[in-house]
Symmetry: D2
Subunit: 133 residues, 4 copies
Amino acid sequence: MAFIHQIRVRYAECDRMGFVHHSNYALYFEEARTEYMRSLGISYKELEDEGVIMPLRSMHHEFLKAARYDDLLSIEVSVLGEISVRCQFAYRVSNQEGTLCCTGQTDLFFVQKESLKPMRIPASLKTLFESAR
Amino acid sequence: MAFIHQIRVRYAECDRMGFVHHSNYALYFEEARTEYMRSLGISYKELEDEGVIMPLRSMHHEFLKAARYDDLLSIEVSVLGEISVRCQFAYRVSNQEGTLCCTGQTDLFFVQKESLKPMRIPASLKTLFESAR
Amino acid sequence: MAFIHQIRVRYAECDRMGFVHHSNYALYFEEARTEYMRSLGISYKELEDEGVIMPLRSMHHEFLKAARYDDLLSIEVSVLGEISVRCQFAYRVSNQEGTLCCTGQTDLFFVQKESLKPMRIPASLKTLFESAR
Amino acid sequence: MAFIHQIRVRYAECDRMGFVHHSNYALYFEEARTEYMRSLGISYKELEDEGVIMPLRSMHHEFLKAARYDDLLSIEVSVLGEISVRCQFAYRVSNQEGTLCCTGQTDLFFVQKESLKPMRIPASLKTLFESAR
């Protein structure tokens, strides 16, 4: 039940080898995660405006095959495990030939924007995330 | 009486032609401008923390010669004209061979951070800027 | 007869004021220009693979209103004047409320990839560009 | 016997929370790794020009404390284990108060630029890396 979001590789995102520079996958993960949440009825922007932020605790990438300029990438996003204080997402980035280019994982947690204190996931949010299972 | 700041070109800043992607010069201008202000005793961070921001009204670039990966660029910064409501900076970016790669200009103005209303340059700031003439 | 391309503002593209950092408009211009060319039947990637590159000679921005995180921007692209050795594009970036945030212009020229020598626009390309008038 | 490289956080690298966006640590790691290699007498640029590239196989980040605009970060780089076909680097990013903000690891391998085939580390390079132990 994964969500798939497509991103076209920008010229500036490629390095002098013609490959997507590895720092950009974090941006692709984030855009895909945001669109996944939007598809569940969660606007990350509104969440922040309401006082909840979701910073990253950790991030992992495996680079399998170079993606290149103008590639139309498919980023598959899914939630791993139970969501409570933290929230784990997994990503699989493939190019238009279906070749897997990069996989990754991010570990986010819920934090009160003003106090910067960790918090449990708001119940309404949990319901929306679970609706996708 | 120009100020010169050096920046080493990062791998991720170059495109698949091996050239510094043109979007990065705005970052070089900004870093050089910030260091120029620091050399005058003005911390842009503290300025913002005290409620004054300096957004850009316009920016212009002329690209003369491609800069490349690992180049050690010299960015020359100077103030153009009188500073009052707005503040114009000019930039000249040269590589280690002394070849001029890019020139540019930014037009900034002073804004109250909370109200987002334009303001005149604070007097203490004006004094510091003028000390460089 | 302008072309319009939409881009959703990424989280990483906004600065600590919550505004799109000005360096990102160059990326929006480039993505919109590329999609405009694609709509005319011109793949910029294939053009480069066939030995023609289009570097920038100059770029200008006017910043009118801050765009913000998650804004769905409309970038209007059009060609200015005659295309021969050089090619001028104009851009108008508006947010979802229709407010004009940024306008800009880029001046590109045609260059042989191997020799890095300027060249006239290939005839087939000129025909495709003129089909849009 | 770690190497330490300092980087000043750029304005554009911070997000609307005022934190360094997590995607930028990969750039800091890369810049610090390059300077570490330079300190050993290895120019990564020359290495690529001579036909050897070092792409990433994997990358891991742990985010401990937000770094902020204008922070002067110290990035500590060290080599983990034996270098042969692959090369592991570890990173520790601290701010000017000595607070550890981020740790990370990258796993690179040696590849022939033309054939894109993996190779063992060139002997001369291995000697230079080992001189640091």
